[in-house]
Symmetry: C2
Subunit: 220 residues, 2 copies
């Protein structure tokens, strides 16, 4: 019933809806939305239905209402307190990423082993010694962790987190974590996206027999 691909499309709708509202629109039809996100209308309608959003036949969807319904479905209507483990460049980038803050992700603290980093603050988030991880998570009753440690430290870090009470892990380390069933784990792999892009690019280059406009000659 709950479709993974559909869930991944939801942020796109929210982006578009925000844009439409900024342009003064208050109602949008599924067809228009479909056009704006570049997906067929039935996909959009099914996606919206999944979230519990309802439109009005012959009219469309009320934008404010639709936004609220989508946000509620993903629990983006409340804030999610999280810890970040591993304050490398990727970790620090996530700390500063406004897009995530807008989706309710609120970093209560970051953790690292590097003495040079410990004690400093990034975007108002304190970096604490990794040794204090468990204590902090327990005391603050944090449920969500973002893991950006190196590959060889990821499994151990995750186990410590789970033991301390974490039950949702956003894992950016390039390893497959083995954890109890009740823990929700989302693996994020940038290389996967790059692989898709390169294979797609290769295919388009070789299969230059395709329909549609060809690559123009460069005007040097």
């Amino acid at each position: 019933m709950s479709n993974k691909q559909a869930i991944r499309r939801l942020p796109m709708y929210l982006n578009i809806l925000r844009l439409l509202r900024e342009q003064g629109e208050s109602v949008v039809s599924g067809n228009k939305l479909a056009d704006l996100v570049g997906k067929p209308p039935p996909v959009v309608k099914k996606d919206l239905e999944m979230t519990g959003a309802r439109g009005v036949k012959g009219v469309g969807y009320e934008i404010r209402r639709l936004t609220r319904d989508i946000e509620a479905f993903v629990e983006w209507n409340r804030s999610h307190r999280a810890v970040l483990v591993g304050a490398g460049s990727l970790g620090l980038a996530l700390l500063g990423y406004e897009g995530l803050r807008r989706r309710g992700l609120e970093f209560a603290a970051a953790f690292d082993n590097d003495q040079k980093k410990i004690g400093s603050s990034v975007r108002g988030v304190k970096i604490l010694p990794a040794s204090r991880l468990e204590l902090f998570v327990r005391r603050e009753e944090i449920r969500l962790a973002v893991v950006t440690v190196p590959a060889n430290a990821a499994q151990e870090t995750a186990e410590r987190l789970v033991h301390a009470g974490i039950d949702a892990i956003w894992n950016f380390a390039p390893v497959v974590l083995t954890l109890p069933e009740y823990v929700a784990v989302q693996r994020e792999d940038l290389s996967a996206g790059l692989a898709e892009l390169l294979v797609d690019s290769k295919r388009k280059r070789t299969k230059a027999d395709g329909v549609g406009p060809d690559r123009p000659e460069p005007d040097v």
Copy 2:
């Protein structure tokens, strides 16, 4: 024939294979590999077959050979010169991300509008004024661009890039780009991963009727 999900799994195999080789292994069976990546054996075998890799019946896959075959399939055996457009925190993190460099992604330059950033170098990559984007791309014959500009600048940036000769775009801006068919575009949306995680977490919390071990009581 070429399966999107399968392509996204390829980096995982490479990670595992590197680990195995570091442990002194030289051959691995599909079953063992399957176990290590947490996927059923037939999935692994189909994935490997897609890349053109062949094993030996009764024996398994030669690790060095398999690694080379997978890398060749994704064109990870050669370097891909790229420009980065938008030197915000996410952009800078990508510049410094070792994992991408290991996959052949080589940043020839980064571009930004911010006078404070222009002229500086990050990890050996010069940050140049955005106005020089086209000239640089043409002169250096760059084909790949990583777009990390704000949402409202993404479409225009992409059009400029394509006009200058780019035919593969890795888009981190939260918008759907409209570009000619011959351009390969890969949209990367961190919020999508977060949405998946939160929905999965919600489901696990509500459907606590599931099989398997329950979440233990916190030992406070």
